[in-house]
């Protein structure tokens, strides 16, 4: 599991997290990418590359195509005032309790 906590707009770390997630699929790893806290912004259409924030759209498209599981915490969306209807198709919205279940069932958790 790759856990993304940072906003894509202040750091390239989020884009790097997505790039790593695509790479992790290459060794037959089952990948879950979970967006929480400010990382919830990655679940809606954004263009941080305009401000040198790193590419995210192409990595999300690739992960969906590679059948990685993409999830976002609903409470994080709400806390940042992000309209749940804007969440990209293919990204599942989870409750806090489901997030804990996902984390505890992962073989490894890689936070960014």
């Amino acid at each position: 599991m790759v856990l993304v906590r940072r906003s894509p707009l202040n750091s390239v770390k989020s884009a790097e997290a997505l790039r790593q997630s695509v790479g992790l699929t290459l060794a037959e790893n089952e990948i879950t990418v979970l967006f929480i806290d400010a990382g919830a912004w990655l679940s809606v259409p954004l263009s941080p590359e305009i401000i040198a924030g790193g590419q995210i759209g192409k990595h999300i498209d690739a992960l969906i195509m590679l059948q990685a599981r993409l999830k976002v915490e609903g409470e994080s969306l709400d806390s940042y005032g992000i309209d749940r209807a804007r969440v990209i198709d293919g990204i599942e919205i989870l409750s806090e309790e489901d997030v804990v279940s996902e984390i505890t069932s992962a073989d490894a958790v890689i936070p960014f």
Partner: protein, 98 residues
């Protein structure tokens, strides 16, 4: 045990020191250590390279190294995310710093 360690933070952080100490201790205990450096973690290559003298394998993300002007050195693989994928897959424990 096979430990896979990912370092993404640079020299402004204590993380590299922690990685070096954990790596040294793990090797003394007979564990295998695979270290992957990416993002600003590539700046710590010189600090961590001595671990290879004790059997650790170090891989650097060549993309991030190129971005930051970090030069290739002997004994370290300048690879990519597919290498980290293999490390994560074969490691029994994965530790992330950064």
């Amino acid at each position: 045990m096979r430990l896979g360690i990912l370092l993404t933070s640079g020299m402004e952080s204590e993380d590299a020191r922690t990685v070096r100490k954990i790596g040294e201790a793990a090797l003394r205990l007979g564990h295998e250590v695979d270290l992957f450096l990416m993002d600003d973690g590539v700046f710590n290559l010189d600090c961590l390279r001595p671990l290879t003298e004790h059997g650790a394998r170090i891989t650097v993300c060549a993309h991030n190294a190129h971005e930051r002007g970090v030069q290739k050195v002997e004994g370290v693989l300048f690879g990519g995310q597919n290498d980290w994928a293999e490390i994560a897959n074969r490691s029994e424990r994965v530790i992330v710093f950064g």
